[in-house]
């Protein structure tokens, strides 16, 4: 690491007219001899819907991870960076005399550990989600306290599952018991939240910029040049790479907006969303990577699909809706398609992890400095089981986690115990997260 005589503020930004671009972590921001362990740890949760075909998920043995097979096989390139955690439960996703509506409960209770109040109206009641407990403490250190992302446009009203409001099936993050934080699903909106104009950019200026297809980087050209002149060679290169990434993502967002607006005859493509799901996933998660890299936020959630999602995946030859397929009742053809979907999600998540792993931060990598959950509030989507959930914890949390293992917990262990452990690692110390019963043992080897 090059240690220069001067030190930049971690919160320094490039500023233009109505535009603010956060900077990535630069050597010049690290005081001499600062330890990587002092770097911030990022938290993220990826939620996949409708459960997973657990027969092809769970590693055969407890202990060090051997070559991963089945649905987890795409994670082999990062198998030494993940923990597979078995037997975790979301008790409050169960019916508990509230009748049908497992999808409505599964997503709502996942990060809150709370019972979902059954209503299709506006009288929502749930709990505070783990990410928001963290954001309440850590959010003041970053421009955005947290970032909520989703790959389906979030409905906030109406009956989405047997009397449960759509707000429960579309929102993973809950700021309060009654206030969900809807995820951003439109790439342009996400880009602008992260890198573009803050709310101060005059609407007319924004419209003019978009119409002229100018890059937001153009708005900060002056300050970029001045900063570059003051940096050492290594930092100049990093900054250049980072700004190139921002520009590339901006181009992708623009491309998604201008690509053919008709997906197939008679069906319009949602504006600004890539036609193919993998492209959409990559574009949104690339922005998450940059958000972490630039320390715009340290906390993020990603809803890969809302609970009960009926998305089809023609890119991989699955033209049926995901949710109907999961009610396979043992039909082998449907099961094979469910597995394909599960594998696609795992592949894309692994790509995201690899990007984090390839992103240096001081003497470490962004993945080393992260704790990222990949999981679902359902295991068997066919019969709606809320225990023995599929769960992966990726990253080392700044040296806290000893990854590369499969840990089998006692059954009924709340998944919120994992979230409580993560929060404690980043210095947030609530007594509990929803229904947690204590920290999860064995995540670290100490």
């Amino acid at each position: 690491m090059i240690v220069t005589g001067k030190s930049l503020s971690r919160r320094m930004v490039l500023k233009g007219i109505g535009t603010t671009i956060a900077l990535p972590f630069l050597d010049a921001m690290t005081p001499a001899f600062a330890r990587a362990a002092d770097a911030p740890v990022r938290l993220a949760w990826f939620y996949v819907p409708n459960g997973i075909d657990m027969r092809h998920w769970t590693p055969a043995a407890e202990g060090p991870l051997d070559t991963l097979t089945g649905i987890l096989a795409p994670m082999n390139p990062v198998k030494d960076e993940i923990l597979v955690l078995s037997n975790l439960t979301t008790h409050w996703g169960r019916p508990l005399q509230d009748g049908p509506g497992d999808h409505g409960r599964a997503l709502g209770s996942y990060m809150t550990g709370a019972q979902v109040y059954k209503t299709a109206g506006a009288d929502l009641k749930l709990g505070i989600s783990a990410d928001q407990i963290a954001a309440d403490v850590l959010g003041k250190d970053t421009r955005l306290p947290s970032l909520e992302v989703g790959l389906e446009e979030a409905r906030q009203a109406g009956n989405c599952d047997s009397g449960y409001s759509c707000a429960y099936t579309y929102n993973l993050s809950w700021r309060t018991e009654t206030q969900p934080l809807p995820p951003i699903s439109e790439p342009r909106a996400l880009f602008e939240r992260l890198f573009g104009a803050d709310a101060d950019e005059p609407p007319a200026a924004r419209a003019r910029r978009l119409e002229m297809r100018r890059s937001i980087l153009d708005e900060v050209l002056g300050t970029t040049s001045r900063l570059q002149a003051a940096l050492g060679g290594s930092d100049r290169r990093k900054l250049d790479e980072y700004l190139t990434s921002v520009r590339e993502i901006e181009r992708q967002v623009q491309r998604a907006e201008t690509d053919g607006v008709v997906v197939e005859p008679g069906m319009e493509k949602p504006f600004g969303i890539p036609v193919e799901f993998p492209d959409y996933f990559r574009l949104m998660t690339d922005m998450m990577v940059l958000a972490f890299k630039a320390d715009i936020t340290r906390i993020s959630t990603m809803i890969v699909g809302r609970e009960g999602s009926v998305r089809a995946y023609p890119e991989i030859g699955v033209n049926d809706g995901h949710h109907p397929l999961t009610h396979h009742q043992g039909n082998m053809d449907m099961l094979a398609k469910v597995r394909q979907i599960n594998e696609l999600h795992a592949t894309l998540f692994a790509e995201f992890l690899i990007k984090l792993k390839n992103t240096r931060e001081g003497d470490s990598t962004l993945l080393d400095q992260s704790l990222i959950v990949y999981g679902s509030g359902l295991s068997d989507g066919n019969v709606h089981t809320h225990d023995q959930l599929p769960t992966v914890l990726a990253g080392r949390g700044g040296g806290f986690v000893a990854p590369g293992r499969h840990i089998i917990y006692q059954r009924e262990t709340p998944v919120t115990n994992l979230f409580l452990t993560m929060l404690h690692r980043v210095g947030v110390r609530p007594d509990h997260v929803g229904d947690s019963t204590g920290e999860l043992r064995g995540v670290s080897l100490s």
Partner: protein
Amino acid sequence: MTQDPKQTPSPIGVVYNTSMARADAALALAALYVAASRRQARVNGVAVNGSGLGAAIFCDVVARFYTGTARTPSSNAVLPIGFDSDATAADPPMVGRALARTRPNGQPQYVRSIQRVSDTAAPDALLRNAVTLTPETIVVLSAPATWLAQSIALAGVEGQYERRVKRVVIVEAGDTGRDAAALKRVAALPVPVVFCGSEVGESLRVTASRFDGAFAWAPAHPVADAVAAGAASDLPLHDLAAMYFALSPESPFFTVTDRRLSLAAGAAPACLTELLSLATSRPAPPPARTA
């Protein structure tokens, strides 16, 4: 005659926290499953502490015997067996015979879904989850109160217990009093708590020969094996009495004064017959579903 399950009221849930170290505990568990088959109760959860893993496996064997052989019951079916994984207690001798028994092909006689500790459930979470499965729940405690007290201490649980627990029946025999502070915590719950003193079980002693042929309706029965392995010349029915009272609080066999259970005068013979009848009965077949 067919019956539509949706039209019958939901039975009350029962949580049994046991050390499963005596034959009367095995009989109590059998009685619970028979009552559940008759829809007089719902088995919300069974948690074992104070004994080794074999006791939890035995409870699982009994559950599978009465409810079917599903390898991994779904969240809508029976919960797994809770077990104190930190404990180093030995397996009670009473369960050894049933667990060791094999079929002619060498396979275990009784199907089980617990092979190792991670097949059991965390006891504090299981107890909390079991109590909150139904709007009304009865808890029968016949083990050190450690884990039940810990479950009460979990965030938001005391209020849930106050709303849902209709009765706690505490068996004062064996090692229930080993964790006095925890027992005090359980006894302080703002719900009806009834102590079933050892004198109740002692008044309901039964000779081992009384069980001869009682389980003949099954070619092999894990509880029969446990009784045969665990009963000496005669057997006090502490847990079975407590379980019966928990399921039938209006029974004329018992009275409750100052939170203590007593056997009504002269009721012992009839009560004994009734208890044994319940514990050794063939379970009722599941109700047929109407179209």
